[in-house]
């Protein structure tokens, strides 16, 4: 077969700069051929090499007592959870594919992150998702396209997760015009394993056979990694072949077969074929193993005839794995693949020369030092624009509105409304572990394999990050930790997903740098090392970059089932307390955005030391049995937090609350979003103990009211706001479903 000659145009089309090309020539000592150029272009894409973000990622704390596999070492980090058990977890984005083809884009995102987890030898047990879409309210221009994206993404996640039998037990979804046309789809997966079951993605043992198993390779998803490393344009739709098609049934078979295989002791190394497919898995395993690898593409199971080496190597067909088998145990491996009816082939062997050598048609078609692809990718220190802090909001510029109506409007806004329309489409109950399912501060999951109660929360706030990237970074970590604390858990570690625009723009790079620094600072404060994550850059649509949206998923452990705490009030007659006394203006609040259409102000800053003390004191109070419910005050301020505590439980429970006079306007007192505040309820006979508990620890705690009645009543200074619980519930519970299901619009064919 004849390959195209290498021209400047072809080099540029591969996203390779002249400097990078010179570097490739230096490594090879010659010009690359077309196939080799393709290999370099995907391996040196941002998606695979983190060339623009790597210096920033190094700022994250990655070590800790519980770390068994560190960030960057393998497909996912692994943390000790005690008694010889461990958890492997990671979050990953599939933003660009989902923008083009929401159903398959989201579905294959789920498939990819699940493979990352079982590649580690872990049994995946649950998922979380963090989603962002443009406005879906009917009066907004373009909202039909956003509804189409939401609908497609949710059904894509449901399709894959439900079929494979993994519950999606929590998540978050926000709606804002910044994400129109560039939705964010970040999916988290967690698996459990014994310490001794940790599998490595290294090609070890010279002469060991290399097996390919899973779906046949086709032309789908050609060079998706390179595609994901570009901005979305009007023409991106033509990239549709770069979006893969998912087959969750095949993945379920692959999952079961791989876990059986790993348990058999036949495996020397294992690696999934995700981004950059066969290329990435072969050179990464060789590079990690300090070995070489020799693969014959003629032996690769293929879906169609006439595929070129370039296409086979760059295909991102889903549900495929590369397995390095201990020599002599090939038959046991074949038996397992045959039991599960999976296509497989022995396609090569491990060598000792450090070279990734690819053959086809009896010829060597590519010959590249494996480590040059993984370790010698260029690293860019991008230019950052100087930061000009935003001006604080002038309260006088915010016209007073009807605050009673405002709470109802906030609760019915898709960002704050109940996400039942989404999570009822996910099988969140399979595996019988969702002790606290979707809709509370953190999900609590009983991993039956090890009997551990795990808590997990995923958080990000693009608006705050836009206004103040460093604070946005701190805020999402502090909020995730706070959500875990509210559920009674001790945080163990975190995984991050950095969703940003084009880092070549100094303004964007500054956002990336500052928010990573904020996240890193907070992770150190909470002693939650980052175990790995994902970077998604070039999130731009024709109108500009998205608001920078770092997202963090944090995992915690609940020591005793009795410590599990929910956000909803438990019944009448309890005291309501506010922990952490802070006040602020409406800067960066959802109130200001949703009701006044303004993204403005200087967001109130997270005080990390105070946060750590607050959360630790709350956990102690939970352990002491003083807490009946706990809820983080976040988006929508204390008014929304009170409403959610009143209406999110199995029974509606009213409350009467007097907010302290903080010398501000009523709308500020009700809706400001100063971090570091937690709303708890406690049995009346425990008031004295609770007061002393927090006083002893120097944590401001104020009794603000009592639960009971058919209304939520909030008194601020002279005003007396009251809402019938039924109205709050209906505004919060029904709005998303009403928006999505009552609009008749054709869905794109899947």
């Amino acid at each position: 077969m004849k390959e195209p000659a290498i021209t400047d145009a072809i080099i540029a089309k591969h996203g390779i700069t002249p400097e990078e090309y010179a570097r490739i020539r230096g490594i090879l000592g010659r010009d690359p051929n077309f196939t080799e150029l393709g290999i370099f272009s995907v391996m040196w894409s941002e998606h695979c090499s983190y060339k623009n973000s790597r210096p920033e990622l190094k700022k994250f704390p990655v070590t800790g007592e519980r770390i068994l596999v560190k960030a960057g070492e393998e497909n996912a980090g692994v943390l000790d959870v005690g008694d010889g058990w461990a958890v492997a977890f990671k979050i990953e984005s599939h933003n660009h594919p989902s923008a083009i083809e929401p159903f398959q884009g989201a579905a294959t995102g789920v498939g990819g992150i699940i493979r990352d987890i079982f590649t580690m030898g872990a049994r995946p047990v649950f998922l979380l998702d963090s989603l962002r879409f443009g406005p879906i309210n009917q009066n907004v221009p373009g909202s039909a396209a956003n509804r189409h994206l939401l609908s497609g993404v949710v059904s894509g996640i449901a399709h894959y997760g439900n079929c494979i039998g993994l519950p999606t037990v929590g998540g978050e979804t926000w709606f804002d015009e910044t994400y129109a046309g560039n939705p964010l789809v970040n999916v988290f997966c967690l698996g459990v394993l014994r310490h001794e079951q940790i599998a490595r993605g290294a090609a070890k043992g010279v002469g060991n056979p290399v097996f390919y198993v899973g779906a046949e390779t086709g032309r789908d998803g050609l060079a998706g990694a390179a595609f994901a490393s570009r901005e979305l344009t009007e023409e991106s739709k033509e990239d549709r072949p770069a979006v893969q098609v998912g087959d969750p049934f095949r993945e379920k078979l692959l999952l079961e077969a791989c876990l059986e295989l790993l348990a058999s002791g036949c495996v020397a190394g294992i690696q999934d074929m995700g981004a950059a497919g066969l290329t990435c898995s072969t050179c990464e395993t060789a590079s990690r193993g300090g070995s070489g690898i020799d693969v014959d593409l003629d032996l690769v199971p293929k879906r169609e005839d006439g595929m070129t080496p370039y296409e086979i190597l760059l295909s991102e067909s889903q549900e495929r794995m590369l397995v390095i088998v201990n020599k002599g145990q090939e038959d046991s491996v074949r038996e397992i693949f045959e039991k599960w009816d999976l296509p497989y082939a022995q396609i090569g062997r491990v060598t000792d020369d450090g070279i990734m050598r690819i053959r086809a048609g009896g010829q060597v078609v590519a010959e590249i030092p494996a480590s040059s692809l993984t370790d010698q990718a260029p690293v860019y220190h991008r230019e950052a624009a100087p930061w000009v802090p935003p001006a604080p909001l002038d309260p006088a510029s915010v016209p007073a509105i009807d605050n009673t109506d405002a709470l109802l409007r906030l609760l019915s806004h898709p960002t704050l409304a109940r996400k039942r329309w989404i999570w009822e489409q996910y099988d969140h109950m399979v595996r019988n572990g969702a002790v606290v399912g979707p809709g509370s501060d953190a999900a609590v999951f009983l991993a039956r394999e090890c009997g551990k109660l795990l808590a997990a929360s995923v958080d990000g706030n693009g608006l705050i990050t836009r206004l103040d990237p460093r604070e946005g970074g701190r805020r999402c970590v502090a909020e995730a930790a706070r959500n875990l604390a509210c559920s009674g858990a001790v945080p163990l570690g975190a995984t991050d997903n950095l969703n940003f625009g084009n880092p070549h723009k100094p303004e964007i790079f500054r956002q990336l740098r500052d928010s990573v620094e904020g996240m890193a600072e907070a992770c150190r404060a909470f002693d939650t090392p980052v175990t790995g994550g994902n970077v998604s850059l070039y999130n731009e649509n024709p109108t500009g970059p998205i608001d920078p949206t770092p997202v963090v998923a944090m995992v915690g452990l609940i020591e005793d089932e009795a410590h599990i705490t929910r956000q909803s009030f438990r019944g009448p007659g309890d005291d309501v307390w506010l922990l952490g006394e802070r006040t602020a203006g409406l800067d960066g609040s959802q109130f200001l955005l949703i009701l006044h259409g303004r993204k403005e102000g200087r967001p109130p800053q997270t005080d990390l030391a105070a946060e750590v003390a607050l959360q630790s004191a709350l956990r102690d109070a939970i352990r002491a049995g003083l807490i009946r419910s706990a809820h983080d005050c976040a988006e929508g301020g204390i008014a929304v937090a009170l409403a959610e505590s009143a209406i999110s439980g199995p029974e509606l429970v009213g409350a009467e609350v007097d907010l302290p006079d903080d010398g501000r306007r009523d709308d500020e007192s009700l809706f400001h979003e100063a971090p570091g505040r937690i709303l708890v309820s406690s049995g009346r006979n425990q008031s004295a103990a609770l007061e002393k508990h927090f006083a002893d620890r120097g944590i401001p705690a104020r009794r603000v009211g009592t639960t009971g009645g058919s209304h939520l009543v909030i008194r601020v200074r002279k005003a007396d706001y009251r809402w019938p619980l039924g109205r709050l519930h209906s505004a919060w519970d029904k709005s998303l479903g009403d928006l999505m299901d009552t609009v008749a619009e054709p869905l794109a064919a899947h």
């Binding site: 059904s155 449901a158 439900n162 079929c163 494979i164 039998g165 087959d247 969750p248 049934f249 095949r250 379920k252 078979l253 599960w340 009816d341 999570w423 009822e424 489409q425 996910y426 099988d427 969140h428 109950m429 399979v430 595996r431 019988n432 969702a434 002790v435 009983l446 039956r448 089932e561 299901d741």
Partner: protein
């Protein structure tokens, strides 16, 4: 009691069923691979939920051809209790062990939520521990759970007391609003003519512990246990 839990490629509630039987009831339960040609020596057989063969064709349409299903039919004919849950119900319908079909939910979405069920039959091996009209809280999780059958079949189910459960509201009223998927007659579970095969869309194995939201599903397993016990006396 010793229970067989079938395992098809794509089954994903098999582990939940095994664990529930072992951990919540202390019974013996064993997985049986779909390629096996016999399923003898068990007191009951469970066809669990999941997406057998991905459900890319009609749900259960391929699984019914697995070798083990012939053995299941033989055992059913011999009177062994067979319980199909969710995808298992779909498979039993495709295999002809139960009448009717499960079609796409009325609202077209997959739905996972708690539902209320009204117990309509308390003579079967799966429901004998209950009383007629008893209300159970048991979750559903399916995209194709809308029960459909022709009028004649429906009449036969009604007349011969073969409807085991109907969706109802918290007070036991069988209403359209309480019907999550559009099933005819709010049907959530049906029995075969002999009464020893039950298919139900709700998942009783997910409702055996209060901490998961409900323990009402225990009734199904307790009934089975009572049946097995009675058989050995």
């Amino acid at each position: 009691m010793k229970v067989a839990v079938l395992r098809f490629p794509g089954s994903n509630c098999d582990q939940d069923c095994l664990r529930t039987l072992r951990d919540s009831f202390g019974e013996k339960a064993e997985p049986v691979w779909h390629k096996d040609t016999s399923v003898t020596g068990f007191d009951a057989i469970i066809v669990p939920g999941g997406f057998s063969y991905g459900d890319y064709l009609r749900c259960g349409a391929i699984a019914r051809y697995s070798p083990v299903m012939r053995a299941v039919a033989d055992e059913a004919a011999r009177g062994t209790p067979v319980l199909g849950i969710c995808n298992g119900f779909q498979i039993l319908c495709e295999a002809g062990l139960l009448p009717g079909a499960l079609v796409r939910n009325r609202g077209l979405h997959f739905i996972c939520r708690q539902t209320h069920l009204r117990l309509e039959n308390n003579t079967s091996p799966f429901t004998r521990a209950g009383s007629i009209g008893q209300i159970l809280r048991v979750p559903i999780a399916h995209g194709e759970g809308c029960y459909f059958a022709d009028e004649e079949t429906l009449r036969a189910l009604e007349d011969r007391n073969r409807i085991a459960f109907r969706y109802c509201d918290a007070d036991g009223a069988v209403t359209a609003a309480a019907n999550p998927n559009g099933s005819l007659g709010n049907i959530a579970g049906i029995l075969n003519e002999a009464g020893n095969v039950l298919g139900m869309m709700p998942h009783p194995e997910r409702a055996c512990e209060e901490r998961l939201g409900s323990a009402d599903g225990r009734l199904v397993f307790e009934s089975l246990l009572g049946t097995a016990l009675a058989a050995t006396l």
